[in-house]
Amino acid sequence: MANEQDFPVIFELSKEGRKGYHLPGLDVDDVNLDEEFQKQYIRQEDPDLPEVSELQIMRHYTALSKRNHGVDSGFYPLGSCTMKYNPKMNEDVARLPGLSSIHPYQPESSVQGAMALMYDLQTSLSHITGMDYVTLQSAAGAQGEWTGLMMIRAFHEANGDYQRTKVIVPDSAHGTNPASATVAGFEAVTVKSNDQGLVDLDDLKRVVDEHTAALMLTNPNTLGLFEKDIIEMAEIVHGAGGRLYYDGANLNAIMGYTRPVDMGFDVVHLNLHKTFTGPHGGGGPGSGPVGVTNELAPFLPKPLIAKADNDQYFFDYDRPHSIGRIKPYYGNFGINVRAYTYIRSMGPDGLKQVSESAVLNANYMMRRLSEEFELPYDQHCKHEFVLSGKNQKKMGVRTLDMAKRLLDFGYHPPTIYFPLNVEEALMVEPTETEAKETLDEFVDAMNQISKEAHEDPETVQEAPHTTVVDRMDETTAARKPILRYYRD
């Protein structure tokens, strides 16, 4: 039951008989549908959806939006998520009727514009990564990982290498890496990081063997550090017959400076909702295209967009070695349109500038913040860096507390407690779209919080103080789950 102080859920605004819609009329002969069906197939109790007016809906969701923080609301340095500005032009383009109101089964002749866009996007992503082929089908990064691993599996099986059942994943990797390996039918094997925060080459040699299907790697890694031993790593893995998988989560750091193909990778997925500004949407939809080198191309999912001799685009289903279909239709086209618009807005120089500025912003912040916060790996970072809240923890203030305190300053906090190999981790990614003034203000806020941790720890421990709700009781939420609204 709702208390007076509770913000209402939309069901609590409902009143019988109210309407928020106006459907087209019935202009054909009326028929008695109920005569056609056996009674047990006719719904007896209507779904209990809210009955509300249009203005009530608009006010409700506008109020909800005000209880939410987006990139347009304020700085959002959430490490590994690349919370950059989402250009408004992309939103306008994606809403053009010729792109938003087309059906996947229309004759190919009637969607040549859309297919040209997809083909050009595929080609652009090929050049950015150096891969020979790209598919746009994967809905998100995790699906891209799984798609890539399924291709690697098909490749090994085509060679008769059925014993290659293991995928190596660094201990600092994002959780989707080992999960994708499992879902693709592999066993995930962890390789340790060394004291520089990089993959330990000796440990890699230890875990690589004739069972190795692939090594999954993010480069720069989740600490924001470039795996400078990448050449040796590629040699070790390739030497044992394995393949190299590039998790493109951190591509924002390297565009125009190096390409996954240059580093020796065989398969790449990209997160178009990170590097290429498809908005995050509060958790999705994303888009996770996958690129491969020629040797893996036969295994790409179906269909692939191709260009015929007469310059007409078509969907190529004639791919006998394909891993099959991974998703209905052709991927999250609407997100791909936004990414394409972004790439065309930036051009080759612009994309390189993106990476340069992202890295410069991160290093600047890291240097300034390292005066007050422990920097576990003291070297130049790429587009993000990881601090430790160890110093403040001594005062009884945890990283979680500092993150909550940042809310009072109008910021979304950095990613916390990830990667797992840093104690009290704070992972900061400013992105290139933030101005120096914003970075300076954030550093000032962080320094003040650190000061508070020493002088007035309670203020931090009890934060946030200014948000619409305080810290939530997550334990009860998990112990006694309430996952839907029930009327009294």
């Binding site: 054909v28 990139v71 950059k84």
Partner: protein, 449 residues
């Protein structure tokens, strides 16, 4: 050149380099070993100004036939429906679309509550107890349901009706490969799944039976009969894929004892956009609550006792379980779930039934109109908003000709199954008028020869 998305000026750059203690940004990239550096220029098109690029994109868009230039009778899993204007106004609030996954509940109550409301609405539509925050689409949601059933029952055999969407069937095969599942297909007769064959295949090794309701041909499968067969096996689960709009009229699968109900909420407020992004949903029983893939939002309160919402039961998910996770899903379709919530809120209790019935009545009018014009139609059983028309020539030929006449014709069933060569699956939704239907029937008649 100073780009409008990058605020760093030369002055900023110099000041920042100084603080870092390097003389140029190249030093920050010095850890990239020489042999792997890319020294060329990326071979992509040069940057275009905002105005010029918009013009170019509009030109590309205009090359496509779409539902504002043509009258469409194409469905087969993706439908043109009434989308209230408020839907786009809500999802265009940048507090929603520029936010990440709501990991900080204090500043994400808007998104969290919107998802909680979506979960509730999906439970209401499907008659299930629990729904998640969304999946990529109906096809992958179904494939994940299959994998869940195998994990839960520890059985490898999955029986799938061939009357489900052919692309969903394809996706099931691809997903099932990771867990080495054995997929058994059941034929259809007269547009419905062959229950005798289903009965013969069902055994103690069966993890689940997969049905679509209404099925790919628009026919309403007798779920009650299916359930009575499935329930003869102690553990076997019934998985149903449903167009949620149809459930405005049809008894929801939950009332027939479905264990998992999935589908796509595209019908509620989401444009067709060439097949994606749409919005998969995943609904199940309380018993399976801790096995659900993807994110779940739960209600709780803060220390002042104020109601609020958080992501919950995260121990199921990849970021906690890593290689023990049963699904790797991370990003979902949150913004589209919001769009569907707004559309479902607008339609409300009465509107979903009214809209479902409008679809059914207009589709029946169209079917009869084809029959009156001398066409054979399939099938005779109860259906939702799609039916099959038999033509004298290949559907794709006719569809090319229809485009010239301002129509987007129906789905070519021959592309999946030769026995359906010359068979067009026609979808009629509430947005089609009598006049449009009459014109379409008459034009198909003319072109059919």
């Amino acid at each position: 050149m100073q780009h409008r998305y990058i605020p760093m000026t030369d002055e900023d750059r110099q000041a920042m380099l100084k603080t870092i203690g390097v003389s140029s940004s190249d030093e920050l990239f010095a850890d990239i070993p020489e042999p792997v550096r890319f020294t060329g220029e990326l071979n992509i098109k040069p940057a275009k100004s905002e105005f010029e690029l918009k013009k170019e994109m509009a030109g590309l868009a205009e090359q496509n036939s779409h539902t504002q230039s043509h009258t469409s009778f194409l469905g087969a899993g993706v439908y043109e429906h009434y989308i209230p204007s408020i839907v786009d106004h809500v999802i265009s609030r940048s507090e929603f679309y520029t936010a990440y996954t709501p990991y900080q509940p204090e500043i994400s109550q808007g998104e969290l509550q919107a998802i909680f409301e979506f979960q509730t609405m999906i439970c209401e539509m499907t008659g299930m107890e629990v729904a998640n925050s969304s999946m990529y689409d109906g096809g992958t949601a179904l494939a994940e349901a299959v994998n869940l059933s195998a994990g839960q029952t520890k059985k490898k055999k999955v029986i799938v009706s061939k009357a489900i969407h052919p692309e969903s069937l394809d996706v099931i095969y691809t997903y099932a490969k990771g867990f080495n599942l054995d997929i058994v297909e059941i034929d259809h007769q007269n547009g419905l799944t062959d229950l005798d064959q289903l009965k013969a295949e069902l055994d103690d090794d069966t993890a689940s039976v997969v049905m679509q309701y209404p099925n790919f041909f628009g026919q309403v499968e007798p779920l009650e009969d299916v359930q009575s067969l499935v329930s003869e096996q102690q553990k076997t689960m019934m998985i149903v894929s449903s167009n949620p709009l149809a459930l405005g009229y049809l008894t929801p699968p939950g009332e027939f004892g479905a264990d998992i109900v999935v589908g796509d909420a595209q019908v509620f407020g989401i444009p067709t956009q060439f097949g994606g992004p749409h919005c998969g949903y995943f609904a199940t029983t309380k018993k399976l609550m801790r096995k659900v893939p993807g994110r779940l939002v739960g209600q709780t309160s803060d220390d002042e006792g104020r109601r609020g919402f958080v992501l919950t039961l995260q121990a199921r998910e990849q970021h906690i379980r890593r290689d023990k996770a049963t699904s790797n899903i991370c990003s979902n379709q949150a913004l589209n779930a919001l769009a569907s919530s707004v559309a479902m809120s607008a339609l409300g209790k009465q509107g979903v039934r009214e809209m479902a019935e409008l679809n059914m009545k207009k589709a029946r009018y169209a079917k009869k109109a084809f029959e009156n014009a001398g066409f054979d139609t399939l099938y005779d059983g109860p259906f939702f908003n799609e039916f099959i028309v038999k033509l004298n020539k290949p559907v794709h030929e006719l569809n090319e000709a229809l485009l010239e006449e301002g129509f987007i014709g129906g789905y070519d069933l021959g592309r999946d199954d030769q026995q359906y060569d010359h068979h067009m699956l026609v979808a009629v939704t509430e947005v089609r008028s009598k006049e449009e239907i009459d014109q379409f029937v008459s034009k198909v008649g003319e072109l059919n020869g």
